[in-house]
């Protein structure tokens, strides 16, 4: 409930800033940027390989927002519109043409005993081990590689949902997907990342 109220306040503030930007108040556009540049940058960085490429996409996104602000009808939240523009900038930079075609399987077959169909007794709990300070640095690299290995749409969904903590509904609106399709892809992305980390951690001798 508290977060719904916070979302409402954010939406109201954004709408006021959009209106002032339309009337030519550049300080309002500056404030919109301040509110969102960090989030849009993280999305771009999650999608791309390096900071400079991410910055290019963020620059294009905000320039588009400024130029198209008169076309924003307020049918969705400003943030939804902005994230959509940002993702388009990212996709343009990545020159991706078939982002909707790529899927990943659930990737859980090796977790089950082929005879009984039950989860294997060999599944280990490495969650505490992952707190090891020495391993942390290494894991960060493994995580970035694993996220980069996700198909683009899954990467976007995972970043918006689990890093930016948007709701499934918001992510679905940004990506133009149903909530059900968003949730399916999110689950597959989470399973894929869990299994990548698991393989890495189980391959390191204690």
């Amino acid at each position: 409930m508290a977060s719904q109220e916070a979302n409402q306040l954010t939406g109201d503030r954004d709408a006021a800033l959009v209106e002032r930007t339309r009337r030519g108040d550049s300080s309002a556009f500056d404030e919109l940027m301040e509110r969102y540049e960090g989030k849009v940058y993280r999305l771009a960085l999650g999608m791309m390989k390096n900071r400079d490429d991410a910055l290019d996409a963020v620059q294009d996104a905000f320039l588009s927002v400024f130029r198209k602000i008169d076309t924003f009808k307020g049918e969705s939240a400003f943030s939804t519109w902005l994230y959509r523009i940002a993702l388009n900038s990212v996709y343009m930079k990545l020159r991706s043409k078939s982002r909707h075609d790529k899927t990943i399987p659930l990737d859980d077959e090796e977790a089950f005993d082929p005879v009984t169909g039950h989860a294997r007794a060999a599944i280990r709990d490495w969650s505490e081990r992952a707190d090891d300070a020495v391993l942390r640095q290494e894991l960060s690299g493994v995580i970035r590689e694993a996220v980069a290995a996700l198909p683009e749409e899954y990467r976007a969904i995972f970043t918006l949902r689990d890093v930016e903590e948007l709701s499934n509904q918001e992510v679905a609106e940004i990506l133009g997907l149903t909530v059900a399709a968003t949730k399916t892809r999110l689950h597959r992305a989470r399973m894929f990342l869990r299994n990548r980390l698991s393989r890495h951690l189980q391959g390191i001798p204690r």
């Binding site: 900071r51 659930l106 995972f158 890093v163 949730k183």
Partner: protein
């Protein structure tokens, strides 16, 4: 400890499929209870859940990077030039 693989509750595969809805708090109370019944009686599934949750926490921690000040400055200066020069 009851048999987690009996016909009454969800099996391991179903539990795996429901893990995201479970950690996101999106299951009905009945399904949640059935799933927790399975997890409490099935150590491999419980261990899997722990690593599934840990993965989300580790990923968020690794990817929640602040925008460096230098890039903020470059962004602002780029937009000022482009907007003024439009």
């Amino acid at each position: 400890m009851s048999d987690p693989h009996g016909p009454a509750g969800p099996g391991c595969r179903e539990v795996f499929e429901l893990l995201s809805d479970y950690v996101d708090g999106e299951l009905s109370p009945e399904t949640r209870e059935a799933l927790e019944g399975h997890l409490g009686a099935c150590p491999p599934c419980e261990r899997f859940l722990k690593t599934f949750q840990k993965t989300r926490a580790l990923c968020r921690e690794s990817l929640l990077e602040e925008m460096p000040d230098e890039l903020r400055t470059r962004l602002r200066s780029f937009l000022k030039d482009r907007i003024r020069g439009k």
